[in-house]
Symmetry: C2
Subunit: 221 residues, 2 copies
Amino acid sequence: METYKVIEIKESVFADNNREADRIRASLKREKTFLLNLMSSPGSGKTTTLLRTIEALKGELRMGVMEADIDSDVDAAAVANAGVRSIQLHTGGMCHLDAGMTEQGLKELGTADLDLVVLENVGNLVCPAEFDTGAVKNAMILSVPEGHDKPLKYPLIFTVCDVLLINKIDVLPYFDFDLEKVREYAHMRNPRLKIFPVSARTGEGVDAWTDWLKAQVRDWT
Amino acid sequence: METYKVIEIKESVFADNNREADRIRASLKREKTFLLNLMSSPGSGKTTTLLRTIEALKGELRMGVMEADIDSDVDAAAVANAGVRSIQLHTGGMCHLDAGMTEQGLKELGTADLDLVVLENVGNLVCPAEFDTGAVKNAMILSVPEGHDKPLKYPLIFTVCDVLLINKIDVLPYFDFDLEKVREYAHMRNPRLKIFPVSARTGEGVDAWTDWLKAQVRDWT
């Protein structure tokens, strides 16, 4: 009985959230700003990948970054050092961002003069996948040490993402990770998922990913 | 206004959950069964660590395992192969287990003839930390590839855990991971946290961990 009650509340939260996310996208379209929602487990390399992406694109696109974290400003400081406007969103224990929190962040950051805003979501494969943030595209990172079975265990996030970065391919020799299997499992969840193997540490494969992202931004703006 | 409403519901959920968790612990105490709640990010090596733990303890303790997963039976099958009674709990999208779900699992597994039950929680550093499952002790795994900054970013889970396993120490040479820093950060969150560096793959350090666990079970039963 209690469980049923919680589910009803959750459904109304989702409906409100989806409407708000659609409003955010419409407003971003008018402003010609592209919002990317970047999700992964803790420690998959979201911030390092973001720093590589900034390095590749900041000469061509006007970028901004929103760093969501439960606590700490480590990531926002790193991004600010890379010369990109950034803000830190503290979720205060919340396990994901919803559209309302994203909208507050966008207002705080100021997006009128930006082509591309990246939202680095809370490190979590479960809850962030359930909430549309208003992003134009959803990206996720799965790193080699996490294992190739993750699409079997965390199906929703692979379904809602447009693009998957397989990060830390520089350590492939030290792990039992099968790149072909992860492609197969991920495409079972989402046949249209774009997949880029990269190493944010060495830079390998990063060009293919940033070229794809640039094309998406051009299409939108 | 909406946010406030959600928080109130959450608080009442927590209060109910805590009462239920206390009831579970009292019942486990009467039955002389120890329940360990094992938490970590996706891909930190919960199942591999559990298999090593089973290997070390199954001659001395009567063990059972509850595998919580959003979807898939991969882990329960692996544990069953190791010769231990196990059940798979499908959370149907839920990001954590609460006391009610744990109680259902314990009933299904049957605990009267068991000394030690391990609950492998959903791979997530955020939500599982918020819900007391009724476990006697909480354990978490942080693996080397995830980085030593995790206690700064995911504070609650380090606070609620009794023991931290630093897993995958066999790949320390390939990552910028500082074992001293992680100890310092983790103890900032929780000065009483026991820390065991291990490699579930090679078996290194596993004895110290299983000795500690055995002593906890003896204290309780």
